[in-house]
């Protein structure tokens, strides 16, 4: 069993990582890089939900936040770029 103290440390660590990740997403200025940062942020959120013992939400966040949303955004960026040329 994981001790309660270690669990709390893990929770605090992941909360800090999520806050840092969100800041990185907002501060990133290049579109494609921002999408990649968003994908990593989705992964961090998934880990957060796992650490807070919500495996169902972890799976949803992992699939939608880290995979499908970045793909949709990348395709939209590619389309806009094509029109700009």
């Amino acid at each position: 069993m994981i001790s309660a103290g270690l669990m709390n440390t893990l929770q605090v660590t992941v909360l800090v990582l999520v806050a840092v990740g969100a800041t990185v997403v907002v501060r990133t200025r290049t579109r494609v890089r921002q999408v990649l940062a968003l994908s990593v942020y989705g992964m961090l959120l998934a880990i957060l939900f796992l650490v807070f013992q919500a495996p169902d939400v972890t799976l949803s966040e992992l699939t939608v936040g880290a995979v499908v949303l970045p793909i949709i955004l990348l395709l939209a960026i590619a389309k806009v770029r094509k029109r700009e040329q």
Binding site: L59, S60, V64, V67, V68, A78, K79, Q85
Partner: protein
């Protein structure tokens, strides 16, 4: 407004927000404590009542099944809206994917990427299928399984096979599967009404072993229908966007 005034305005507003925020914090329940009565009650009765050990699925597809129908149709409406908005317009030309900047040499996707993506298609599809059909047993469900199933198709595209991706996912088939998935959920609920039971009442045999694949009655069945609906919806959405990006130009 001068920048100086704006800064003061912001400072006052921010101070007010921080004060209200801190005040609200003092009224929150303690970290990790849950004051509502429903959670404890559901945990006590759910496994006995539904024979589903995946209690979250039992809640999603049974206790609040009617809410989930509504959520399912959000995705359904989104995919339908996408198909309508991104349909081929009269002034749009559909062309083969072409290199728009011929002077620039684009390296082809490396064999490592292609092989890795292709190798992951099978396991990903299996994982999605497993998640969608084991909602009653473990933390999973139709939604998560469906999205992972859809990402198996997206991997085929990542392996560099745009045409294979489109051939494997014809829009007519996707539309049909999506409609069957969404309609199936509603029909399972309506069947209960036909039997003079409340809408979405769990009328199927619950099985003897809690958490077995054959347990939990309508919960497992609804999760399966949600799974195929979600998979079809996401493949449809990504397919429409790929068509739009790669094939069409105004």
């Amino acid at each position: 407004m001068t920048p100086r005034q704006r800064l003061w305005f912001f400072a006052v507003a921010a101070a007010g927000l921080v004060a209200c925020y801190l005040w609200a914090f003092t009224g929150l329940p303690g970290f990790g404590s849950y004051p509502g009565p429903y959670g404890q009650e559901i945990l006590r009765v759910a496994v006995q009542q539904t024979n589903a050990t995946g209690v979250v699925s039992a809640i999603n597809f049974e206790y609040r099944g009617f809410d989930t129908v509504g959520e399912e149709f959000i995705l359904f409406a989104a995919a339908a809206g996408m198909s309508v908005v991104l349909r081929k317009l009269r002034e749009e030309r559909e062309t083969e994917p072409a290199d728009e900047a011929e002077s620039r040499t684009v390296p082809p996707s490396s064999s490592a990427v292609r092989v890795a993506a292709l190798l992951m298609v099978g396991p990903t599809a299996l994982l999605g299928w497993w998640l969608a059909s084991h909602a009653q047993a473990s933390p999973s469900g139709g939604f998560q399984g469906g999205v992972i199933l859809a990402s198996a198709f997206i991997l085929i595209y990542l392996a560099g096979e745009f045409l294979s991706f489109r051939r494997l996912s014809p829009d007519a088939l996707l539309n049909a599967v999506e409609a069957v998935g969404a309609g199936g959920f509603v029909a399972i609920g309506l069947a209960a009404i036909a039997m003079n039971l409340p809408y979405l009442y769990n009328y199927l045999p619950l099985g003897t072993v809690p958490g077995a694949v054959s347990s939990s009655g309508t919960i497992a069945l609804i999760s399966f229908f949600v799974g195929i609906e979600v998979a079809a919806a996401f493949v449809l959405i990504v397919g429409e966007l790929l068509d739009q990006t790669l094939l069409r130009s105004a």
